[in-house]
């Protein structure tokens, strides 16, 4: 099985080359943009594992980032920072395993809103824990420098992209796609549906756990309303849709497009940039209904036939 350029190599290259080039621009601003960009790439790739491949659209993916961030905060001072971040990732993964069993039985739009509710539920549980602990917001002084955070986040983006490339090539990936297309048929063909869904859900929680920890380190501040902000979930989904394909390419293209676009807009049109952004989003759907990847494919117009999903 060879590497498909546009599907696998392109996104990996984009992330790797981007990660190496951004620091050359030489100031904190670009590192900051890069940090954000790679954070979104990692989040969107993780989301793709369960929502893109298996078709279980999660609108509550922020919950894993929130949990990761919170565990980092709880272990702050008790264990080394990076270990705390790993604890965050593992915690997020375990949480996914724990709730996955009941939650992954719910389908379609019900699942979408259920995941949203789950994230809100977790948010308010954390708020109440914090309030019982007598901590209302946490200030974490003395975290790592931006440079370090940048490299870690770039690595996470690369790992996320790589994981989508790899999973798609595994039996796991084929099984997840089958589940997305028709879960009953998939089961009957021998796909262990529940197990695969759980694995995908747990896998898709790990990286966000780390990303959430990085977000906390970046601001040095933790507050549940911010850490579990549902806008983060919405943005992940938006990026994936804009990217437009459920392989590793979609999230990368979507994240680049949205991050660059809003970066350009807010710095050039600070007063009205949100309105412009709104107009562009609508225009985007009208003129590129299949996302950035669809647009690229059309430009390259490699095949006249509609391509399948490409399980190579």
């Amino acid at each position: 099985m060879s590497l498909n350029f546009s599907r696998d190599a392109l996104p990996l290259l984009l992330v790797a080359v981007g990660a190496l080039c951004l620091p050359l621009l030489g100031n904190d601003y670009y590192l900051g943009v890069g940090f954000t960009l790679f954070g979104w790439v990692a989040l969107a790739q993780s989301w793709t594992l369960v929502s893109g491949l298996a078709g279980y659209i999660s609108l509550g993916h922020v919950v894993f980032a929130g949990i990761g961030g919170y565990l980092l905060v709880l272990t702050w001072g008790a264990v080394p920072i990076w270990l705390g971040a790993i604890v965050g990732a593992v915690g997020a993964g375990l949480f996914a395993l724990l709730v996955g069993l009941p939650v992954m039985r719910v389908r379609g739009p019900y699942f979408v809103i259920l995941t949203f509710g789950l994230a809100e539920f977790a948010k308010y549980v954390v708020i109440n824990i914090e309030s019982v602990l007598g901590k209302f917001s946490r200030l974490l002084l003395g975290g790592p420098a931006l440079q370090d955070l940048y490299w870690v986040m770039a690595a996470l983006a690369l790992v996320g992209t790589f994981s989508v490339v790899v999973v798609r090539r595994l039996r796991l990936g084929a099984g997840l796609i089958a589940i997305r297309e028709d879960e009953t048929a998939a089961g009957t063909l021998g796909v262990p549906t529940m197990r695969f869904k759980l694995i995908a859900f747990a896998l898709s929680a790990l990286l966000p756990g780390l990303v959430g920890a990085m977000f906390v380190l970046r601001t040095g501040y933790f507050e549940p309303l911010q850490a579990f902000d549902p806008i983060i979930s919405f943005t992940i989904v938006t990026m994936a849709i804009i990217g437009g394909s459920e392989d590793a390419r979609g999230p990368v293209l979507g994240a680049i497009f949205l991050v660059l676009l809003s970066e350009l807009l807010w710095s050039n049109f600070p007063q009205v940039y949100m309105v412009i952004l709104g107009v562009l989003l609508i225009g985007f759907v009208l003129f590129a209904p299949n996302g950035v990847s669809g647009l690229l494919d059309r430009l390259a117009s490699r095949s006249l036939q509609r391509p399948g999903v490409g399980l190579v």
């Binding site: 009941p102 939650v103 039985r105 719910v106 389908r107 739009p109 019900y110 809103i113 259920l114 949203f116 509710g117 789950l118 809100e120 539920f121 948010k123 308010y124 549980v125 109440n128 309030s131 549902p230 919405f234 989904v237 938006t238 849709i241 804009i242 007063q271 009205v272 949100m274 309105v275 952004l277 709104g278 107009v279 562009l280 989003l281 609508i282 985007f284 759907v285 009208l286 209904p289 299949n290």
Partner: protein, 295 residues
């Protein structure tokens, strides 16, 4: 605790429940029928709020009239969006496959535009006004006129719409359209008309509810999101496209919000609401009232 038995608490539960029910009803018409993820829905509520505010502040027009104006305005907006954007999206074979995803983007855009244009026009400063604020005394219960109006209008209107759609061919057409577009066309449903109806009614209900809500809460350009969320939670809880289920779910949330809080602690409000929501879905993966298929 005698608080639990007080009429005051009951009426509070009914008011919240009926507002949730009405707001969700409108969204149900749009998401349920066409699978359009209208996350700008709460922003229509906000528009209704501003209409009420300005009509009262500038012309001393009562919220009862303003609510009709707001409904008409947002209804027209719905018609404009339908003809301008969605009719085409809903009729192409390719675009219908991605309709859920793409409608999310479109409405995300619309939401951003509505919020920010409002903020540019009226500033983000919150607004409030006092209309219909004299107290009505019913036995030991006292309640402001505005909340009384909200209760009567929301409950009355929701029940009316639910029954109307249950009994009329239009309602059956909507339910058919929810399940299968092609089959709906085959039996001769004028898909375009049904969709337009759903758009206009759904949007109008949001605006109308907004004018009522605006009397009791502060209005700001960014107040809409929580309403969007509540509406989605309610329609899923009640079963997608199931209008009566949505009304019931709205009431259920109203009751949890008041009685749940009275029994435990206000801190637990959201935990209770989302907890019940999650529990219901885990036990009944297709919502409270959905008949379950066994295959």
């Amino acid at each position: 605790m005698d608080i639990l038995l007080s009429g005051q608490l009951l009426i509070a539960a009914l008011i919240i429940g009926s507002i949730y029910g009405l707001v969700a009803l409108g969204l149900n018409l749009i998401y349920g029928t066409m699978r359009l993820l209208n996350i700008a829905y709460g922003d229509l509520v906000m528009i209704g709020g501003y209409v009420g505010y300005w009509l009262f502040t500038l012309a001393a027009i009562s919220p009862i009239i303003a609510m009709l104006v707001a409904g008409v305005l947002t209804g027209l907006l719905g018609a404009a969006l339908y003809f301008g954007l969605f009719r085409r999206q809903l009729s192409g074979r390719q675009s219908i496959e991605r309709i859920e995803a793409n409608s999310l983007l479109i409405f995300f855009g619309i939401s951003i535009i509505i919020q920010n244009v409002t903020a540019l026009a009226f500033s983000a400063t919150p607004r409030t006004y006092n209309a219909l604020d004299s107290l009505v005394q019913i036995g030991e219960i006292s309640i402001t006129q505005s909340r009384m109006a909200a209760l009567l209008v929301c409950l009355g209107l929701s029940i009316f719409i639910v029954f109307f759609l249950r009994l009329s061919p239009l309602g059956l057409s909507i339910r058919a359209l929810i399940q299968n577009r092609t089959a709906s066309q085959i039996v001769g449903i004028d898909v375009n008309r049904v969709q337009l109806f759903a758009f206009v009614t759904g949007f109008a209900l949001a605006g109308l509810a907004g004018a009522l809500i605006g009397v009791t809460e502060q209005i700001s350009p960014f107040m809409g999101f929580p309403f969007t969320i509540v509406a989605f939670v309610v329609i899923i809880l009640g079963g997608l496209g199931n209008l009566a289920g949505g009304l019931l779910a709205g009431m259920l949330l109203g009751i949890i919000e008041t009685y749940g809080v009275a029994l435990t602690s206000a801190n637990l409000r959201s935990i209770l609401i989302y907890g019940v929501f999650i529990l219901v879905l885990v036990l009944r993966p297709e919502g409270l009232l959905q008949k379950r298929r066994m295959t």
